[in-house]
Symmetry: C2
Subunit: 157 residues, 2 copies
Amino acid sequence: MAAYDSTDRAILDRLQTDGRIANVDLAEAVALSPSACLRRVRALEQDGLIAGYRAELDRARLGLDLTVFIELKVGQHSRKTAARIESVLSGIPEVVACHVISGSADFLVEAAVANLAAYERLLIDQILAIPAIVDARSTFAIRTVKTRGPLPLAQLR
Amino acid sequence: MAAYDSTDRAILDRLQTDGRIANVDLAEAVALSPSACLRRVRALEQDGLIAGYRAELDRARLGLDLTVFIELKVGQHSRKTAARIESVLSGIPEVVACHVISGSADFLVEAAVANLAAYERLLIDQILAIPAIVDARSTFAIRTVKTRGPLPLAQLR
DNA sequence: GCAGTCGCGCAATATTCTTGCGCCTGGGCC
DNA sequence: GGCCCAGGCGCAAGAATATTGCGCGACTGC
């Protein structure tokens, strides 16, 4: 499949908001029969547009009161060290997101931890323990206005 | 409800990975009968631990090739301007996350856009158009190692 | 030891998912 | 203009799943 219409967009839009909506209700919301709707959803999954479904948990209620952004600098760059660093970082449960970035740092990591003590353990024992990481600069989220918001669909063709 | 056990954790863990798993299968995965499992899930939803369910879309396939982090500085701070800025920022579809942060900037925004042209429009027409925003520093994600990863559950009591 | 509470599994019912099928529509081609 | 084909739809039936009431057993606190 290569072209998507406004119905597909409506489906994606709805599923981004409520990923567990019954197909019957989704169908009604986008003005299709359940069978046609389900076929569209399956096609979107097949195409990889829908990568999966996730339950969205509440950080505060989980006891994760601290969201921290950590910029990391790497000493000697090489394909090998980069791969190693990435695999270690993404294996840390507290690491919720991780990007290779432009600018003065090399990685931007988002971590969710319970408190400052947990943050310290994460930073010292896990992140700074990675060889080749020479610097870390942390920024704390004082308040989260929006997180994991829906992706825009306007550009979809 | 106030105390959670390892079965609750297992349920949350599973639902974070596959938010649309059939209750029958979830029940089997956590070694419960379907009815008991469903009651647990409902309780977790009621408690707000499960905030909702979302379809996870693929940015690249949506045509969102650029993830940008934008640090914003605010000129004169006041409760009112802060509230205004937040509401405008979270209303922008491209803004996928937004935090009030510590450090030299005031806001950290994550935006998903199609390309540099779209980024420019977002920055100039939408973000810098907000009064009281005096500076913006953008960092581009060269590659995304991990995004919207599962939250850690180890600290849950 | 006993009553109360909580959470479980079972089973029946309601709801939903899923798939085959025939129909309609629109585009390309004589 | 008319024909043929492909794609997508709705309908309907059967399969699977969700949902709820109910009784039972285990643990708690007295």
